[in-house]
Amino acid sequence: MPDSLLRVLTCGSVDDGKSTLLGRLLAECGAVPEDVLAGLERDSRRWGTVGEGQLDYALLVDGLAAEREQGVTIDVAYRYFETPRRRFILADAPGHQQYTRNMVTGASTSDLAVLLVDARKGLLAQTRRHAAIASLLGIRDIVLAVNKMDLVGFDPAVFEEITAAFTALLDRLGEVRLTAIPVVARDGDNVTGPSARMPWYAGPSVLAALEEAEPRPAVPPAFRMPVQWVNRPDHVFRGYAGTLAGGRLRPGDLIANSASGLEARVTRIVSMDGDRAEAGCGDPVTLVLDREIDVSRGDVLAAAPLPKRAESVDAWVVWMDETPLFRGRAYHFLLGTRSVIGTVTEITTRLDVDSLTETPVRELALNEIGRVSISLSHPVVCETYAESRTLGGFILVDRLTRGTVGAGLVTALGAARNEVHWQRLDVDKAARGALMGQRPAVLWFTGLSGAGKSTIANLVEKRLHAMGRHTMILDGDNVRHGLNKDLGFSEADRVENIRRVAEVSKLFVEAGLIVLVSFISPYRTERMLARDSVEAGEFLEIFVDTPVAECRRRDPKGLYRKADAGQIRNFTGVDAPYEPPENPEIRLQTLAAAPDALAEQVVQALRERGLIV
């Protein structure tokens, strides 16, 4: 029976013969049942590329129907096989640049990578990319399979030249253990056994290399456990469940909640098979402590030296979404078992994984990897990725689609920013507002250009002013003459534009004012960002709902005419989208009522919400 489990990433493109290598590995280890092999014979006749009467092993591992037809491997596929020595999980990742995210996904759970190169082509940009990504994701063991040796006449000089070039590349990537093997995947040379055609090679076959590897992934030497679940079946028992992400643990050990620093001793390590005397890294446990120290999901229990709390992180981010990453955008930030909001404060450089150089950039597109700074809504206990995959790897989740859009590797914790302390002030916004007989709020008017936002906001402010209320109005056009005059109309600049206006609104709210913001603000994510900058109940989204045809008819500034003529680009409603609010606090339908009546509707809503009396 196998006595260990190895997780392996395999990368290379279809052209390198990767699928062929994998298919043969699986078939020769008996992982392919007879009826599946029979299916393979049928498929080989229909789609095969290796010639009459031969099995096309590549078809075994190209999973989805669309992929079989197109002959490309798109997604990460997982394969399983075992030998008497070891059980293997293969993450089979596609090779092309447009699938970098898939490769990163496969690499994130792997201990070792098998890289394929075509002996005729040697190291390509793609090989450098694969090595760089594997290294970035913390893989320290690489098997280099130099395939198609038959097509270079089994020449040892070719193999040695490629190996030397690859070794030189690894020197730039840090500490990596390399095993290079000359193979012919199609015929099985050096795949599971030695090759009679390459007697000059005395090293292990691919399978032997996988059986013998002893990778040591980065785990902290001291005990760490992100708390997943608080187990409270009754009033007596309270256990903290999670998986050890570092170190060992025995009853009696002194540990602490890293967030508060409060200490306790472990009294029991509970399991269904009886209490355990010890737990090691990777073990799922339920811990009982000798005293109550207030622990909940998202906290990290740890032994000294405790991991630190970060209010911001610097990280490599691999972007995985069609919509690029911009400064100012906010996402759910998931690390360990913690979930907070992370706002991108800076994007500095992009890593060119083919040349391993960095270029300054302002945004990251799909499949790009860059250095990013993220500020966190609440402190997060973490470590660098080099210290811990579990406490240093995070994902970014889109707040609307809830899809995973980015993966990050922490390179530094925001300790420097911790030095800019928040100064506690005695007079707060409630006190300032009370003096003025009002509760501060942001009235955020959104809608198409020409919808009537400024007209209505102006009327509302006049009414409030007449009632003796203290107000301030921020107009989208007006702030571009001062505060935001350095910003253009690219998507990145629009995000920054909104971020600044949201911050200014927040300051005015702190001053106790009722702030009226009149801004097209076409994207839901940005309006969400503005909403989050103030407290719940302080933000009223007011949708000035005018059909685009009507706005175009009014065209008070002649902008639609210019946009139609192509003189203005990225104009909302013409060649840029407007995402209408789904649940605005107030909806104003301008075709149904006059501006005065709509302004009255807003004032009435403020009264109903108790913002004014």
Binding site: M1, D3, L5, A77, G239, A241
Partner: protein, 300 residues
Amino acid sequence: MDDRPAHLRALEAESIQILREVAAQSARPVMLYSIGKDSSVLLHLARKAFFPGRLPFPLVHVDTTWKFRDMITFRDATAARFGLDLRVHTNQEGLRQGINPFDHGSTYTQVMKTDTLKQVLTEGKYDAAIGGARRDEERSRAKERVFSVRGPGHSWEPKRQRPELWTLYNGMLAPGETLRVFPLSNWTELDVWTYIAAEGIDVVPLYFAAERPTVMRDGQIIVVDDERMRFEPGEAPVMRQVRFRSLGCYPLSAAVESDATTLDALLAEMRATRQSERAGRLIDRDEDASMERKKREGYF
């Protein structure tokens, strides 16, 4: 201290972490319990994950009324033994219309299994359904996520799957979306049986060889479980020493000839066998990409 094989401990640890994650992240999780060996392992892992607490989710079984009698007996005994919150659902409308596996073929599976499951999940407002599917069962499952998002109508869109990194599972959902969660994703059939042996987990007796009344259909051995079996003119059941590798509805699950009456014999047979376990499931063979198509339509 723990002398079980290292790879089983690693798989167990991964599954327990996944089970705790779905319980913590979802508002209304539910476990789909199908009575088979994978469900038995899944249930065992869930009991470990939340010990000494009770399972923080109910179990649901979609009963087509065509399950083997031994399965139903085992299901009820298991629920009683572990004090499970087990909810059994049958498509009453389908029953009234007399939908059955003999006359209605794939419509039967669609109506009594797939539609009923969707209905149960929708009516129960369950946002996450935990199942025992494994990636090694079928080629299109090899790319399934552990936390797999289903769109409105429980549809699966293979091209829009979320990247899944490290052990960070994203259980957040947009309106109309639900989750399927597969804690046994990385297990093979052999792992399941070695784990059952190592942990002493009970399974339905049908997995072990015994003399059973059988008939042949399309070259497959079908066990006659009750009087509803339809015979060809002049046909009579023949006793054969058989067992099942995969259990479903009885006239649609084929048995294999076997002498494996014990777990040890069964493991020895598993290590020697050269047939995939789904070879015995008649519904998978209609066309090449049939499973992928069924999943897009909401089959579990």
